[in-house]
Each structure stands twice: as structure tokens, then as C-alpha cells.
């Protein structure tokens, strides 16, 4: 049996993390390489980096970050944000990332998933999905709609249909973010996560809403997620990854306990 994965997520702009983490020792660290090492040593099962660098010219800074992370940690990590085609994917993978994630670009041009999967294998391609609850409409039978540009643009596409389509195109995994739950720290969107997870055969990473270990327990059981993304609950030192894992283990959820 596979262990459920706990995945910290770091937003990076111009080579620096946007939220410095405040550890229990009250030290702020804004260097993504140091933060990756910290989480690696704490037992993170994987790490996700989102590059939110606005200007395309400055993206080579991220490639350098990826290279330094790859020299420092020996677990898989993925990079998303601003990936527009196979050339961007290749640059990130060759710098040492295990996976790349595509989100808005794939909604606009779904073939990018197929081209990436063909060039590098399905296991490299993660579909990032931002989803909003809008209620059932004829074109949105599940009541969950795909949105892009950080939630600003609704696409008129049903989340379940898009998840299935992405799997058929060759996505190896889905990182499912609920726009409604994101930032609330009130828990993951369990209904959405379970719906998507049962609608596809590829692994689903739940994202958005994590505030305490009970939220991870719920999404990894009731929500049927294979992995849980966490951000502020560990960045600000409220919880450590080892504490979260100890809690989940105590709930009877299989997690990786030695690292």
C-alpha cells in the first residue's frame, strides 16, 4: 500500500519565497532552497513550487532555484507557474524537478498536456485545477466550474469533465485546488475532492483550506485524496510536518514515518 503524501507548497517570486516561514525559533527564511531543505528534513514527501514571477525574462532565476533545490533534497519535487509549452517543461525537468504542473495554459490549450506526456511521460505531468462551486447548471452538471487566472476567469467547463479529459490527454496526477476553501484555513472542500478522486484513476492531491491536522485526516479519508497540499499551517510554524504525520498515523492513516 502507498502512504498518503504530505506536500508543502512554496510560492516563489524572483527567486524568493513570498511568505517567509516563521519557524518556532522565530527566524524568517525567504530562500526557497533553505525552506526546501527544512521541509525535507522534517519528512515532507514531496515539495511543490509555484513560480509567480510576473516577467518571463526573469524566469531563468527559477531555473537556477530548481537546480540548487535538486542538489539539496533527494525527494521528488514539482514546479508550476508560467509553463507554456514543452520547452518550458524541458528546462525545469532538466534542472532537476521530477514533475511540472500546468494550469491556466492547459485550460486554454489542452494539447499541452498531451505534448508534455509524450515528450517526458505521464508521471511528469501534473494538472493543476482551480475550481469554484457555482451550483448545478446545464453546462456544469457537477456544480463545480473550472476557473483560471487565480479564480478571476470562469471557463464554463465542468470540473469533473475537465479532470477526466486531462487524464485522457496524459496527465499523471491532478492537483485540485478549491478557490472557495483556499486561504480560509477552514478545511479542504471534501465533497469536491471525493467527486474528482472517484471520477479519475490518477492520483489526486487536495489543495486549499488546510488549517489544522484534522483537515488533512478528513481529506485523506472522506475526501479520498491521495495526497494533501499544505502551506500557511506549516510556513508560520503553527505545525510541523512531523507533528502532522504523527497525528495522521495516530488516526490509522498510513504515512511515511522514517526519513
Amino acid at each position: 500500500m502507498l502512504s498518503k503524501r504530505i506536500i508543502p507548497c512554496l510560492d516563489v517570486r524572483d527567486g524568493k519565497t513570498t511568505k517567509g516561514i516563521r519557524f518556532q525559533e522565530n527566524v524568517d527564511i525567504g530562500d526557497p532552497v533553505d525552506m526546501a531543505r527544512f521541509y525535507y528534513e522534517q519528512g515532507a514527501d514531496e515539495i511543490v513550487f509555484y513560480d509567480i514571477t510576473a516577467s518571463h525574462e526573469r524566469r531563468n532565476i527559477m531555473i537556477d532555484v530548481v537546480r540548487r533545490v535538486a542538489e539539496t533534497i533527494f525527494i521528488p519535487f514539482s514546479v508550476g507557474g508560467g509553463i507554456r509549452g514543452v520547452a518550458d517543461m524541458r528546462a525545469v525537468l532538466m534542472a532537476g524537478a521530477e514533475k511540472i504542473s500546468v494550469n491556466s495554459a492547459a485550460v486554454r490549450e489542452p494539447e499541452i498536456i498531451a505534448r508534455g506526456a509524450e515528450a517526458f511521460g505521464c508521471q511528469c505531468i501534473v494538472l493543476g485545477m482551480d475550481v469554484k462551486h457555482v451550483g448545478v447548471r446545464p453546462e456544469i452538471p457537477s456544480g463545480y466550474e473550472v476557473v483560471i487566472d487565480g479564480g478571476r476567469t470562469a471557463m464554463g467547463i465542468d470540473a469533473l469533465a475537465w479532470a477526466r479529459r486531462a487524464q485522457e490527454l496524459g496527465a499523471g496526477e491532478i492537483c485540485l485546488n478549491s478557490i472557495d476553501a483556499d486561504g480560509t484555513r477552514g478545511g479542504y472542500e471534501l465533497n469536491l475532492t471525493a467527486l474528482v478522486s472517484e471520477h479519475v484513476t490518477i492520483p489526486v492531491i487536495a489543495s486549499g483550506g488546510a488549517g489544522k491536522p484534522e483537515h488533512l485526516r478528513d481529506v485523506l479519508t472522506e475526501g479520498r485524496a491521495d495526497a494533501a497540499l499544505i502551506a500557511s499551517m506549516v510556513h508560520y510554524g503553527n505545525f510541523t510536518i512531523s507533528e502532522i504525520k504523527a497525528y495522521l498515523h495516530g488516526c490509522g492513516i498510513r504515512v511515511r514515518k522514517t526519513w
Binding site: M1, R5, F74, P76
Partner: protein, 210 residues
Amino acid sequence: MIAIIDYNAGNLASVARAVAHLGFACTVTADAGTIRAAERIIFPGVGAAGAAMDSLKRAGLDAVLVEQFAAGKPMLGICLGTQVIMGRSEENDTRCLGIVAGRVTAFPVRLRDADDRPLKIPHMGWNRIRVCVPHPLTAGIDSQDEFYFVHSYYPVPDEAARVMATTDYGIRFASVLGWRNLAATQFHLEKSGRPGLRMLANFCAWNPAV
């Protein structure tokens, strides 16, 4: 010097970085002379068996690997490398190197977990190994240690005695093989944290002649 075989099958830099992190000299190479001169060989890979064998043959490396195994050089297979050392793979119906007699087969469809939920294929993520034959490669590895897997096919040696450890995922399959101077893992020990690095270090220090 450790030669990491470069045959256009995925990102080999991560293996090289892990070996370098452990303090061993290595080079990623497709050059027969360099491979013959190396003290040991790591044969990694990600992708499909058919394309991998085509690339090995085009570069003439299939014969070099078989010859270097026969010469007794310590050799480590990782993931696709572990599948390509077998006799035949059902993936693309490919004839492989035949260093270990046996075949490579796909996970059966509709595998179920203990709660009768469908298991996802590829088998991707962290899983444990159960050591059945102690081998220098698995020295110091605990039964709770986990390793990072990404695969849809797995090796089935003809001789059960080649299986050093197994892993459970709906079925029980061979996750570590050992045969003379060859050791091979289905998982990515370069991406498996401390226990993976420990196994990689074990390989780098292994003297099969002793």
C-alpha cells in the same frame, strides 16, 4: 569512477547529483570506453522499454552492458534500468538484455485495496520493502523505511532466488533484485530520502567479489 549510463531515457542528472552528494565521483556517459574503464555502473532510466532498448542498441550499449556484467563489474539497475536487464518486457513486447532471466509484466487492471477501492496505476508514491534475502544493498534498511516508486510494470525473475525484497501493491512484486555482481531496484533510490541514499552508498561501497 562510477559510470551512469546515458541512453536518452529520462533525467539522469538526479542520479548523478545523489552520487556526488555521497562523495563519489561519477560521470553520465554513453561512451563504451568510459563505461569499460569505470569501477562500477549505474543503469537508471525512466520511460518505455521499447524506446530504451532501441536507444541502447543504436549506441551499441546493449552488448557493452552484458559484457561488463559478465566481467564481474558491480552494476546497479534503477526503475526502467531494472526492467531492461530482464529477458523480455511485455511493454512494447520488447526483447531486453537478459542479464536476469525472466519477464517484465504490467500490474493487473482492477487491483483493489483492503477496503475494496480500486488501486491507481501507475504505482506512484512511497511504499515499503520487505527484505526476503539480506543483501549488501539493503544493509541498514529498516522495515518501516519507504521508497519512491513510479511504474506500471514490474520484473518477474524466473528464479525466485533472484528476489532480495518485495513490495505490496494489490499484489506482491519483486522490488529489489540481486544476481552475482548485479543489484537492482524498481524504486528510485535517488529520490527516496535518507534510506534511498543509504542504499546508494551501500552500492558505491559494495564489493561483490568478497
